[in-house]
Amino acid sequence: MASGQVEKRVKYKSSLKDPGTPGFLRIREAMLFFVPTDPKSDSKLKVLTQNIKSQKYTKEASNKPPWLNMTNKQGRSYIFEFENYADMQTCRDFITKALAKCEEEPTKPAVSTSSEQLNIADLEMRFKLLRENSELQRLHKQFVESKVLTEDEFWATRKKLIGKDSIRKSKQQVGLKSMMVSGIKPSTDGRTNRVTFNLTPEIIFQIFAEKPAVRQAFINYVPSKMTEKDFWTKYFRAEYLYSTKNTAVAAAEAAEDEELAVFLKPDEILAREARQKIRRVDPTLDMEADQGDDYTHLMDHGIQRDGTMDVIEPQNDQFKRSLLQDLNRHAAVVLEGRSIDVDSEDTRIVAEALTRVKQVNKADGDTTKEANQERWERMSRVAGMEDLQAPQNFPLAPLSIKDPRDYFESQQGNVLNVPRGAGALKRNVHEAYGLLKESILEIRATGLCVPLIKPDVSFDVFRSLTQTISTAKNIIGKNPRESFLDRLPKSTKDEVLHHWASIQELLRHFWSSYPITTTYLHIKVGKLKDAMSNTYSQLEAMKESVQSDLRHQVSLLVRPMQQALDAAFQHYEADLQRRKAKSGGGERPNGYV
C-alpha cells in the first residue's frame, strides 16, 4: 500500500499553552513518530498506535488552528498543529484506520485464550473466593475440572461475587497531611546565609491547593518567564519575607519585583472564592455562617505564624498574613481532600489539573445569575409564613391496586367452579337461611341429639388421630420447625446439599443456553445434559443407599431435584426433535439464510 506511511510537517505541543516544537510527524500503521527539526530538541516522540485511546481535532469552521489531539491510554495527550486542514485530515483518517485495525486484532485471540487475557488480580480474586468458599470450590472442581463448564462460564454467573470483592478491595485515597506547609523549615548549613528548602511533589500539591494565586502564577510564568527552580526560589523568598515580619521590606521588594509581589499580596482568587461562598449562604438561615466562611477578613488577634504578636503597621497591611488565616485556609484544604488523582512528578500537570478542578467547581456554582435567582426563590420560600400560605396540595400518586379477587379467584381455579354453582344457590338465599333457622329451631325443640356420638365412631376417630400423630411424629420429629435434614447422617446431608447446589449450577447454565443460536451453545448444552444425567443417576444411587427408615424422606427431598432435571431433559429432547424436523425439512439451521 502506497499510503503505508504518512509524513506531515507539524508543530508538537506537549500542552495547550505550549508554543510547540516544529518538526515532522510520521505515521505508520503500528506507530507514530515525531521528529523535531531542531536535532538538539529533546521532544522526540514515539507512540504505539495501539496505545492511543482517542483523538480529537479542531473543525475547519472554527477559527482555531488545525490541531489534532491524541489521548493515549494513560490519559496523556499529544497535540499536533498542522499547517493546513487538509494535512490534518489525512493524518486523522490514517490514524482512525490504524486504530480500527488495532481494535480488531486483540479481540480475536481474546476469544480463544480469554483466560490468559485475564489480569492477575482477577485470577487472584477467583482463587481467594474458591479458598474461602468450600462449596464453591467443590462445584468448581466438579464442573470446571471435568470440563463440563469452562472457567469463564463458571465465573460468568458469579460476577457479583467478584465485583463485591473488588469494591471491598478498592484502595482508599490518601488525603492531605494536616501539617501546614509553612511548617517546612529550611535547612541551613550554618556557615553561609544560604537556606535550602526541600520540595516534594506532595508539598507542591499542597501549596497549589492552598494558594490558588501561586498556582495561577506558576501556570503563567513557568516555563515561559522563568524556570521552575526560579519560581520556587522566588516563592520561598516571599515566604521568608513573611517570616521576618518585616512588612516594610516586603513592601519594598514587592514594588520592585512584579512576580514576587504576586506571592506577597493577599490571594485574590481565594478572596473571590470566599465572596462567592458567602453569597451562597442563605442569610435567613444563619447570619453567622457567612462571617465564619470569610475567614480571610476576620478580625484576628494579630498573631503571626510563628506565634509572635505583631505591631500594626497600617500602611503595609496588605503584606501581612496572620496565623489564623493560614490555619483556616489549611484546614479548609485538608478537609476538601485530594480532589484530583494526579500522581505526577510534573509540577505543571499538577497545577493545571488543580486549576481544572477548580474551574469545574466554579462552573457548577458560577452561573451566577441563575444562582442568584435561585437564592431569591429560596429566600422567599424560607421566609414565607406557613399559616399565611394556601394549603399545600401534595401530589398524590394513587396506587392502582386492582381487585385482589381476580388474583385469588384464578388461584383457586376449578375449586371456584363449585361456588359458581353457588350462584344458583344464591337465588334461593331465602331457602338456605330457612334451612338454617329450621335447624336451630329443631335443636331448640329437641335438644342435643342422643346419643351425641356412637362409640364405634368415637373409636374410629381415636384410631385415625393416633395414626396421624404417630406418623407425623415420625416424619417431622418432635419439633415441627426442626429440619429433617438434621436427622440425616452428616455424609448424606452433605451429599444432598451438594447435589442440590450442583443441580442448580447445571440448570442455570442449561437454561441460559437456550435458545441455541450457535454450535458452541449446542455443544455446551450437550455437555451439560450428560453431566445432569450423571447427577440423576447419582441421586438414584443415593436414594438406594440410605437406611430404609429415612428412604421415604430422602426420596421426598430428591423428588423436586429430579423433577427439575426431568423438565430440563424434556426440553432438551423437544428442542432436539424440533431441530431435526427443521433440518429434515430442507431448511438450514439458524445462521444460514
Binding site: T157, L399, I401, Y407, E409, A432, S439, V457, A472, T518
Partner: protein, 299 residues
C-alpha cells in the same frame, strides 16, 4: 374475691373464643345438618366449661354478611329456666343465634348487589371481633384466663378478605394468641392453615364429621398450658411457595414488588398491582453481559 381469684387463675384457665360458621350456603350442602353440628359444638362447649370452673367461653357467629357475639359465659346467668333436657345456658345462645341468622339474612338481601361474591363467611370480621374481645380481657388487669381462638369453619376462603384475614393473623401472633382451626368443609382452607401455623395453634381437618365431638374434645379442649404435654396432630407440611401474580404459576424464585409485595415470575417494567415503576435490575445487566459473552465464541 381478688385473692381467691389470684389463687384460682392459674395457668390452665382458658378463655375460648369460638368462631362458629353459620354460612347458610355451606350448611345447605353438608352431610350433617346444622342441628347435628350444633349438638356436637354445644356439648364441646359444655365440656370445656366443665374442665375448669373459671373457664370462659365466648361464641361469635360468622355469618355470610355479618358477624356477632352470640354467647358469653361470663355474662349469662346460668340459673335460667330449663328447656327440654338441654343445659339452660345454651338456650340463650340458640335464641341469639336465631336472631343473628334473621339479621344476617336481611343484610344479605340488602347487599345483594355483589352477585359474584364467593359464598364465603366473614372470617376476617369474626377474627377481628375475637381479637378485640381478647384485647379487652388483656387490659382488664393481669389476672385473666389464657385466651385462644378456635375457628370452626366450613365454607371456603373468601379471597377478597385476604388482607384483612392476614392482618388479623399477624395481630394474633403479636398478642401471642393461638388460633386453632377445625376445618369441616370439603377442600382445605389456606387461611386457616396459615393462621394456625403462624400463631402456633393447631389445625385439623376431621375425616368423619359424625365424630366431630370426639375430635373437638381430643384436640381442641386442652388448655394452652397442658398442650406442652400432649401430642397433638401436626400438619405434615405447609407449602410456602408463592404463586406469581402474572401467570398464577407456583414459583420457587421470582421478582417481588418492593412497594406492595406482589410476586412476579418475570421482570416487569411496572408493577401490575400497584403501578410502581421498577428500575433496571442488576440481574438484567449481568444476563446481558453473559449474553454477549456466550454469543462471542462463535464469531
Amino acid at each position: 374475691m381478688a385473692s381467691v381469684a389470684s389463687k384460682l387463675y392459674s395457668d390452665d384457665v382458658s378463655l375460648l373464643v369460638l368462631l362458629l360458621d353459620t354460612n347458610p350456603f355451606f350448611w345447605s350442602t353438608t352431610s350433617i345438618t346444622f342441628s347435628q353440628f350444633l349438638s356436637h359444638v354445644l356439648a364441646f362447649l359444655n365440656a370445656v366449661m366443665g374442665l375448669n370452673q373459671l373457664n370462659q367461653v365466648v361464641v361469635i357467629a360468622t355469618g355470610y354478611s355479618s358477624c356477632d357475639y352470640i354467647y358469653d359465659s361470663s355474662s349469662t346467668s346460668s340459673n335460667h329456666g330449663t328447656g327440654n333436657g338441654m343445659p339452660a345456658l345454651f338456650s340463650s345462645l340458640l335464641e341469639k343465634l336465631e336472631d343473628f341468622v334473621t339479621k344476617d339474612e336481611e343484610l344479605s338481601k340488602e347487599k345483594n348487589v355483589s352477585k359474584d361474591r364467593v359464598a364465603s363467611s366473614l372470617l376476617s370480621g369474626s377474627l377481628s371481633m375475637a381479637l378485640c374481645y381478647i384485647q379487652r380481657v388483656f387490659r382488664s388487669g393481669h389476672l385473666h384466663p389464657q385466651p385462644r381462638i378456635l375457628c370452626l369453619q366450613g365454607s371456603q376462603d373468601g379471597p377478597e378478605q385476604y388482607v384483612a384475614v392476614m392482618n388479623s393473623i399477624f395481630s394474633a401472633q403479636r398478642l401471642m394468641v393461638p388460633i386453632d382451626s377445625c376445618y369441616i368443609g370439603t377442600q382445605n382452607s389456606a387461611f386457616l392453615q396459615q393462621a394456625s401455623y403462624i400463631t402456633g395453634g393447631v389445625h385439623h381437618k376431621p375425616q368423619q364429621l359424625d365424630g366431630l365431638f370426639q375430635y373437638l374434645t381430643t384436640i381442641f379442649a386442652t388448655d394452652l398450658h397442658s398442650r406442652g404435654f400432649v401430642q397433638l396432630p401436626k400438619p405434615v407440611g405447609v407449602d410456602f411457595r408463592a404463586s406469581c401474580f402474572c401467570h398464577k404459576k407456583t414459583i420457587d424464585m421470582g421478582y417481588i414488588c418492593s412497594v406492595c409485595l406482589s410476586i412476579f415470575c418475570e421482570h416487569h417494567k411496572k408493577c401490575t398491582t400497584c403501578g410502581s415503576v421498577f428500575g433496571q435490575s442488576k440481574l438484567d445487566d449481568v444476563s446481558s453481559v453473559s449474553d454477549k459473552k456466550r454469543k462471542s465464541p462463535d464469531t
